[in-house]
């Protein structure tokens, strides 16, 4: 993979044109060797593309274009497998590259949506990329048939080779690619039945592993351009505040310092020859802040606002059937509990960064982004130039998790800085501290649940009031209709393909009282499914306990109309040993949910020492994503989801004091390390017929499975995350 298609011929020529006869300072083998043909075959600068997705070179090597971003989730390899499958390609000759957002714009979005989030990389583009591969194969075969003067129906393709079956003549894709590129693309493009897959569906090794083991993989933070300067930035620590003043003269003479610049109204950056010198000068720079209207907000004041929302009369409805209030009023037994879920930072390992080069005529940005098109829009706005005079080159991401998708605040900053240094490329890199206190945080919510049990312990009614933050209101407020954010109800919907609430409860009311603190929210891997799963699945456990029923049997009865939900739950129960004695001192907990189009469940096995120390021994996880494109990478996503989900459950919390986030680094924002990691057994059970995501859903079942196991071990219900605040000592 040429991970830096951005530093291809185009980027190189533009940089060179702007800066004169520099050489490209990038430290990557073959940088610039594989360019995306800017306008397709007609340009002729590289081998002709057969279509937007496929380039075949005369030596039979194949370049598959990938529109979505690779950030570790394996989509790059999976999408390439889908194209190669329909292409009948020789997989050993496949490499990949990113088309740029500017090229997508110039070609009427030939590559479709570049956004990489919501576990949509494969499930939203499988059809278009498979058709791209199939169409290319059809064109290659037709070109060969025409060359031989034989009917196309007498030819077949396999492993990048085309055979004329009656005569046994063969040719290769590389030999006919140029002719194929001149043909009219087919319009009727049949796709293979997944049961016949030979490349897709297989646990192939990733295409991007080797360079990640030897230091060669270039991330945005590693980028070097000729003549490049480095910037360190400080944005007002209080959200909503701004810069009152700064004294640039105090640091102007420090080593390497080139310029101190305001960045919008809220931030200041130091530009220097190296980043370390920029940061050193920034630390020494006297800045006075105007902390603005939020300077008195605290976690406690936010919690009070949310608490009031739990009882507020006005709320947007997400799921309603029957009459939950009446069922609760007439219940033989009523169960009530309130849960809470905190702000959390994405904490990607690579802090936010972008390199920008601005001239009055053009602006170029090199950045790790989950959405190249959104990055281009942000660059264009900040540059004051139309999108067709801007370009974004996607650089490999050191983690994304949603932080690098919807909001490109760092891109705007980088362009703003570059604009004040025309003609000079400037790399802006956030410090970890800047990254921690200027996140787009997992939304904060509380949830009050009330359940109605009849005399036989059946669940006859459920009321669930969520109070708290809306991500959509914070990022896409135009999408809020009548005060309702549909994304709040992830996993709680009455039906549908995205995240149906599986439990059949005759009387149900799930609603949301929107309460938006000033802390900016963001899409955080797993999004609202994370807390919704905690709320529902822990409360299901509470209800089962109150009904005197086994948590598995209690759920099974309610899932009788939801066979896919039930299947993953049954799988983890069976493999996790539910119903059989746990090893001495251990206890188990269950959780299931549907989200991002997939069905997931987990069975956690934990122990808690008398002193209250928790050990998560193992987790058995099941996933039904419909179709599975790369089973070993799905297993990697499931394992990784437990790290992300358990980090959140055990440690993840950003608190607010005087309007700002208190945690500035990993010493106060703890995350899971290897010593805490349980064994994970991932059961993949693709039932076919639909396409679900795999990067996020499993995160949601991590916390509730563990919390339910903790209850089984200790009799203690932990209802406020993270767990670090809970006292698990035996009474």
């Amino acid at each position: 993979m040429n991970q830096i298609a951005s530093l291809n011929r185009r980027g190189f020529l533009q940089v060179s044109a702007a800066l004169g006869a520099f050489t490209l300072g990038i430290r990557v083998p073959e940088a610039g060797a594989q360019g995306v043909a800017p306008q397709g075959a007609a340009q002729g600068a590289t081998s002709p593309e057969v279509n937007a997705w496929v380039v075949v070179k005369p030596d039979d090597s194949i370049i598959i274009r990938i529109a979505r971003s690779e950030m570790g989730q394996g989509t790059l390899t999976g999408l390439a497998q889908l194209v190669a499958e329909e292409l009948n390609a020789d997989w050993s000759k496949v490499s990949t590259e990113y088309p740029t957002p500017g090229q997508n714009l110039a070609r009427n979005r030939a590559w479709g949506n570049m956004s990489t989030g919501g576990s949509r990389g494969i499930r939203e583009s499988h059809e278009v990329v498979r058709k791209g591969g199939a169409a290319a194969r059809m064109m290659l075969v037709e070109a060969a048939a025409r060359g031989w003067g034989v009917p196309v129906t007498e030819c077949r393709a396999a492993n990048s080779t085309i055979t004329h079956t009656p005569s046994g003549r063969t040719t290769t894709y590389g030999k006919v690619a140029e002719a194929a590129a001149r043909l009219t693309p087919p319009t009727d493009i049949p796709l293979r039945d997944p049961k016949d897959w030979t490349i897709a569906g297989k646990p192939l090794p990733r295409l991007d592993t080797v360079d990640k083991t030897n230091g060669k993989q270039v991330y945005g933070a590693d980028l070097t351009l000729p003549g490049m300067l480095n910037a360190a930035i400080r944005d007002c620590p209080v959200f909503g505040g701004k810069v009152a003043s700064f004294d640039a003269a105090k640091v102007a003479g420090m080593p390497g310092v080139k310029k101190v610049v305001p960045v919008g109204e809220t931030a200041v950056a130091v530009v220097a020859d190296t980043w370390w010198r920029a940061k050193t000068a920034l630390d020494a720079l006297p800045i006075t802040w105007d902390n603005g209207p939020n300077a008195q907000v605290s976690s406690a004041s936010i919690a009070e606002v949310l608490k009031a929302g739990l009882e507020a009369p006005e709320a947007a409805i997400g799921n309603r059937a029957g009459d939950a209030k009446a069922a609760i009023a007439g219940a033989a037994k009523r169960v009530e509990a309130t849960y809470g879920y905190p702000f959390q930072n994405h904490a990607t390992m690579e802090p936010m960064n972008a390199t920008a080069l601005w001239t009055p005529e053009r602006c170029e940005v090199w950045t790790p982004t989950q959405n190249g098109e959104a990055a281009l829009a942000a660059a264009s706005e900040a540059a004051g130039l139309p999108p067709n005079k801007c370009e974004v080159y996607k650089i490999h991401l050191g983690g994304g998790f949603g932080r690098r998708g919807a909001v490109h605040d760092w891109v705007r900053q980088a362009v703003d800085i570059a604009k004040q240094m025309p003609g000079t490329p400037v790399k802006l890199l956030w410090s970890r501290e800047e990254d921690m206190i200027h996140g787009r945080y997992h939304p904060i919510t509380q949830c009050k649940l009330t359940g109605a049990l009849d005399a036989q312990g059946n669940l006859t009614g459920l009321a669930m009031r969520i109070s708290g933050q809306s991500i959509v209101a914070g990022i896409f407020p135009q999408n809020i209709r009548d005060g309702r954010d549909p994304v709040v109800f992830q996993g709680l919907s009455p039906g549908g393909e995205e995240g149906a609430f599986g439990y059949a409860i005759p009387n149900i009311l799930i609603d949301h009282a929107m309460r938006n603190p000033h802390v900016p929210p963001g899409f955080w891997r797993g999004v609202n499914l994370n807390q919704n799963a905690v709320y529902v699945e822990c409360f299901m456990d509470e209800l089962a306990h109150a009904a005197g029923k086994d948590p598995l049997e209690f759920r099974r009865a309610l899932l009788k109309n939801s066979p896919k939900h039930l299947a993953v739950l049954n799988a983890v129960a069976e493999r996790g040993g539910w119903g059989q004695p746990a090893p001495e001192g251990r206890a188990r907990g269950l959780a299931q949910i549907m989200g991002f189009g997939s069905y997931v469940a987990a069975c956690a096995e934990v122990s808690v020492s008398p002193a209250g120390d928790l050990t998560i021994h193992k987790i058995t996880a099941a996933t039904d994503p419909g179709h599975a494109v790369n089973p070993q990478q799905i297993a990697a996503q499931v394992e990784g989801s437990f790290v992300y989900g358990l980090s959140a459950a055990l440690h993840g919390e950003c608190t607010v004091a005087e309007g700002r986030i208190e945690q500035e680094n990993f010493d106060t924002y703890s995350v899971m390390r290897m010593a805490e990691m349980p064994a994970v057994e991932a059961i993949l059970m693709p039932s076919g017929g639909f396409w679900g995501g795999v990067g996020e859903p499993t995160i949601a079942v991590a916390a509730p499975a563990v919390l339910n196991a903790i209850f089984a071990a200790t009799g203690k219900r932990v209802r406020q995350l993270p767990l670090k605040h809970a006292d698990l000592r035996r009474a």
Partner: protein, 154 residues
């Protein structure tokens, strides 16, 4: 000004004495395989070897080193990516985003040099690097594989 021995080469580096080794390696020597993650020795993305000992280069100034100390970065771990850990990493497809993996591999290499047959508990106790993608179980399995033991998944 500092004189450092990095990957077997002695280099003179024109930086302030208090510049962390990490930034001298990345910005002056130009080896970017060693990563910045936190700057406070928490995450381990910056791990290099100093005379064979895993060291978090973000929190030690260049003035603490001289040319007699052998500093090895991920680029110098093996000439061609053939260190047993690198081979195991590829065989098990360990990396996800990969950003932490240089530090992870360097920490693991120092562990194996000191303890060629580490137990699971040794690995879990010694490797304290942060990975946010969640490669821990494959990291553990790869270290076991490189050490010639059975693959472990927990």
């Amino acid at each position: 000004m500092a004189r450092l021995n990095i990957n077997g080469r002695v280099v003179d580096i024109a930086v302030e004495d208090d510049t962390p080794l990490l930034w001298a390696i990345r910005e002056q020597v130009g080896l970017t395989g060693t990563k910045y993650g936190c700057g406070v020795a928490q995450c381990g993305a910056c791990t290099v070897h100093v005379d064979g000992v895993a060291t978090r280069s973000c929190s030690t100034p260049v003035s603490a080193f001289d040319e007699n100390q052998k500093i090895v970065t991920i680029e110098g771990l093996s000439p061609d990516g053939s260190h047993p850990l690198q081979r195991a990493w590829v065989a098990l497809d360990v990396p996800q985003c990969g950003y932490c993996q240089s530090g992870m591999i360097m920490a693991a290499a120092a562990l194996l040099a000191a303890n060629p047959k580490p137990s699971d508990a040794d690995i879990r106790g010694e490797i304290t690097n942060i990975c946010r993608c969640g490669t821990y179980n494959r990291v553990q399995a790869a270290i076991k594989q490189a050490a010639g033991g059975n693959q472990a998944n927990g």
